[in-house]
């Protein structure tokens, strides 16, 4: 097995941590959004007249819940495509 350099390690760790960030970061928003939608559906079933107000609030709430998942996704994308450590090491090595 070839010797792994610092650059290799940065790549390996970045990719593993990017997938960890996305997978862990999608669990909580998924559970939360599921709960929110279930509650909203129950409320609409009870009070169909209020369906408009409920679904509007639901959409805004979903967007706020979803942002935590989106943050993790942005971090993962930055790790893979715009990794600051990778770029710093590349420029310090003069490559």
């Amino acid at each position: 097995m070839a010797e792994l350099t610092g650059l290799d390690w940065i790549g390996i760790v970045s990719i593993i941590m990017a997938s960890v960030a996305v997978s862990v970061g999608s669990i909580a928003p998924a559970l939360a959004e599921g709960r929110a939608i279930a509650q909203a559906l129950a409320s609409i079933a009870q009070q169909p007249d209020e369906a408009n107000a409920i679904s509007r609030t639901l959409f805004i709430g979903l967007a706020i819940i979803e942002s935590s998942g989106i943050y993790c996704f942005v971090i993962a994308i930055v790790l893979i495509f715009a990794n600051p450590f990778w770029n710093a090491l590349l420029s310090s090595a003069g490559g």
């Binding site: 805004i60 942002s67 943050y71 994308i77 495509f81």
Partner: protein
């Protein structure tokens, strides 16, 4: 692969660089201005509607109704700001069906600029409604202890606004690009259509959140201002 249209450069003149974000932001603005200019030429108030005026009135009254229902306040002061945000983001997102178009909202520069304009607009509306002292006092309601958290919330929700729109639009672009290399024939088209739906929902959510923030800054909170009562409806 580029994750931001900032890096897609079309031309360079001295210190000025024309990238995709800049070009398409101006493109969307020009389209919106030309559209509303062309349709508002023949506007009349004698009861007979041209087709163009009908379209414009439908758009404006739709936005007015949404603002009135969600905020429970008089919608007219907020209409120019919130309506412009909604129409700009909606157009920027929906135009991504055109080949070669890069949605400017998938660049963090655009979304940060939009979020900062909300960050500035919220105190502006609040001060206009309550005066400087009345607005600043809201930060320390109900007790002075809460002050650091309300200030922190002010910044974090600006960051959240920018990142939410950027993340959603960027993930759509990246997803389609990845799928093109995996299953180029059919699946990217479905994801593209799904991206249009996401784009419309995000435009709605951005405008609604901006409106909710403005409404919470202009809402009547304490006894001193509550005596003057809320704004009359219409």
């Amino acid at each position: 692969m580029d994750i931001t249209p900032d890096q897609l450069i079309y031309g360079r003149w001295g210190p000025f660089t024309l990238n995709a974000t800049l070009l398409w932001t101006w493109g969307v603005m020009a389209l919106l201005v030309a559209f509303s200019w062309a349709l508002s030429r023949g506007i009349r108030s004698d009861g007979t509607l041209t087709r163009g005026q009908n379209v414009l009135e439908a758009i404006v009254s739709l936005i007015l109704d949404q603002i009135r229902e969600v905020s429970g306040q008089r919608p007219e002061p907020m209409l120019p700001f919130v309506g412009t945000l909604f129409l700009f983001i909606l157009t920027a997102n929906l135009l991504s069906i055109l080949p070669g178009y890069q949605p400017p909202t998938s660049s963090l520069s655009t979304t940060a600029a939009l979020a900062i304009s909300v960050f500035v607009a919220v105190p502006a509306f609040g001060i206009r409604r309550h005066g400087l002292r009345g607005y600043l006092r809201q930060y320390a309601q109900p007790s002075l202890f809460i002050l650091p958290f309300t200030i922190m919330g002010e910044f974090s929700r600006t960051l959240a606004l920018a990142l939410r729109l950027f993340g959603n639009m960027m993930s759509g672009t990246v997803m389609v690009a990845l799928l093109l290399s995996l299953a180029p024939l059919f699946f990217p088209a479905i994801m593209q259509a799904f991206g249009l739906l996401i784009g419309a929902i995000q435009a709605y959510i951005f405008a609604m959140l901006a409106m909710v923030y403005i409404a919470s800054a202009t809402r009547v909170h304490d006894e001193a201002t509550a005596r003057t009562g809320p704004l009359p409806e219409e």
